[in-house]
């Protein structure tokens, strides 16, 4: 029997940046072990939602709640969210010149694992396994974090971090965009390694393509800062064939009806 109490929940979330409202009452609820996909046209607020979940200081939450395992996420600093097991794979990972991938990953691992952290040798062993799994060159760990990385390398780096940190809930912000099919397969393989009964995943994407490799239990469609439509995997096919216009239409009628 599966536990049907929400694992991760967003309630009537409103958020703005530079005074401009972006999210206008987002509702979303996930049960433990599920994978959800969030799709929507450009400018609908997908990346804003990802950043707000992680606590980016440039976004101001004006109303609503985010609950993870019963904790009030909005009251936590970004590092506390990471320590609680929340992870965001960034759409545009930034470079930190002079800081090696290995040093960074060890610091991040130590910061998120408290007493369960590994000694350097065990850590390195695990890191090499992950690198092999993600089909990355060994020299990767001595390079500076995202410095001079190609788009594909940056995305693999995000997944490598995810495997290293072992979060219990992850948001992937358009990890698939700009990836060729081989890179996409590797990224998906990495993500699927984590999915399981104790892991929640929210895949934010612009294209259905990634959903052929990472299979969502539910799909949400974000339009103009609100979840306009939710449904099962069958929605993916409908979107693929018909685009977003029908959602807009139906959603518009619903708004008018209220």
């Amino acid at each position: 029997m599966t536990d049907k109490t929400p694992y991760f929940e967003i309630k009537d979330l409103h958020a703005a940046t530079e005074g401009k409202p972006i999210l206008k009452g987002v509702n979303l609820s996930m049960v433990k072990g599920e994978t959800h996909a969030l799709m929507g046209p450009n400018g609908s607020g997908k990346s804003t939602l990802a950043n707000v979940i992680m606590g980016h200081p440039a976004y101001e939450v004006t109303a609503g709640k985010i609950i993870f395992e019963g904790q009030n996420v909005l009251e936590m600093e970004p590092e506390e969210r990471a320590q609680a097991g929340i992870f965001l794979a960034f759409q545009y990972p930034v470079a930190i010149p002079g800081v090696s991938v290995a040093k960074f990953l060890k610091s991040a691992h130590d910061a998120t694992h408290g007493k369960k952290k590994l000694n350097p040798a065990a850590f390195l062993k695990q890191l090499r396994e992950h690198i092999k799994y993600l089909e990355v060159d060994d020299a990767f760990i001595n390079r500076y974090l995202n410095d001079g990385f190609s788009g594909g390398e940056k995305k693999r780096m995000e997944i490598l971090q995810m495997l290293t940190l072992q979060p219990r809930f992850a948001v992937m912000d358009e990890t698939d965009s700009g990836l060729d099919i081989d890179a996409l397969k590797v990224v998906s393989k990495g993500v699927n390694k984590l999915t399981g009964p104790d892991f929640g995943l929210l895949v934010i994407t612009h294209y259905e393509r990634i959903l052929r490799y990472i299979h969502p239990d539910h799909l949400h469609i974000l339009i103009d800062g609100q979840v306009a439509q939710s449904g099962g995997p069958e929605l993916v096919k409908k979107l693929e064939e018909e685009g977003y216009d029908w959602v807009r239409e139906e959603f518009g009628q619903e708004v008018l009806a209220h």
């Binding site: 980016h56 590092e79 930034v94 930190i96 002079g98 960074f104």
Partner: protein
Amino acid sequence: MSTESTAILDDYKYGFYTDIETDSVPKGLNEEVIALISGKKGEPEWMLEWRLKAYRWWLRQQEPKWAHLDYPPVDFQDICYYSAPKKKGEQPDEIDAELAAAFERLGVPLQERNHLAGVAVDAVFDSVSVATTHRETLAEKGIIFCSISEAIREHPELVKKYLGTVVPYTDNYYASLNSAVFTDGSFCYIPKGIRCPMDLSTYFRINALDTGQFERTLIIAEEGAYVSYLEGCTAPMRDRNQLHAAVVELIALDDAEIKYATVQNWYAGDKQGKGGIYNFVTKRGHCRGERSKISWTQVEAGSAITWKYPSVILEGDYSSGAFYSVAVTTNKMQADTGTKMIHIGNHTKSTIVSKGISAGDSVNSYRGLVQVLPDAYHCRNYSNCDSMLIGSTCSANTFPYIESENHTAVVEHEATTSRVSEDQIFYLRSRGLSEEDAVSMVVNGFAREVFKQLPLEFSVEAIKLLEMKLEGSIG
């Protein structure tokens, strides 16, 4: 102790004062004071004459104003030019217990049983050298490592031959002043073909109030010799500015190599800019011999005012010079620092890597000259000057001067200015790092190229120092 002073002490843990009886000369500067200093040190006549020539030259000079620094004029008559802790013990070599305790607190043990392994230390307290460790071990190899005062008395032929040959007393205002009144400093001589078996180090401590420190260091590496030298400096916290005007001369003969590293953490003044050390330093190396090498590595983290350009004169063919610098300014600190690389010999090479980090209301300037003389063929220079800004009220400047007069020279200059971005900090925090750890990681990454030039323990210290300095500068 009040909470306020505890908080200040947390910021600058070297801010303590040692209450010790001193032997000082009256404040002010004139020929009698210079004669008095020279007399106290038991110097020969030629030394006093050199000092007086320097003093007379200095009187005719104007204080330089070209640096990007703003500070009230220094009253040279309101400074005490000599202050030495009084010897209490019977034995001439005995170290006073209070002095030893003071250095112990600074992490520099002087008693034989506690000596730092692998590092010989010369400890300078105000105007005098109080102890030099590991001397016997070094003497076996013919290496001379002692205070400059002792060298003037014991090795006058070497001092006479080299003193003032890299930085003459006519060189600049502060170098002239130093030549007139210099009190102590270190002297190192590495004989032909000898690789110095340990790092040599000098620890400078200003203790007395209203006292200037004018140290003079002279390092000579004979043909094929090698030495790595480390310098550290601290001072008590006072709300009045104190003057530090040092001169360091390095001489490298054929195939010799000198590596000189400094971690400068003089008291920088409080948050409002009150107090702190005025640091006017002339450091210059002379690659006199062919294939000789000199490198300067500096971590400049203290002082209210820094005016410092460690330079290399590349005279010997195929000689090379390097300058690696991290300069951190916070609060109201001002730094104008950089280097000069003068290419005289053919096939000479120089490398400049400067990383400026500014926070608070500070001003951090890089000023550097790369000069290739008309007769110097096939010279190369590579310069990289990066500035990082933390917050929005600090500033960074780069003043590169390139004077290449030979068409075969290859001179490259790169400069960047960046801000520690909110996105970088957020990225690291989203991986579980605290805001302070995130800033420190970004800054250490930025300065990494320079830190890796330092001996390992020194580089660990330097990283800690940087973290301490930048604590609370973001947000």
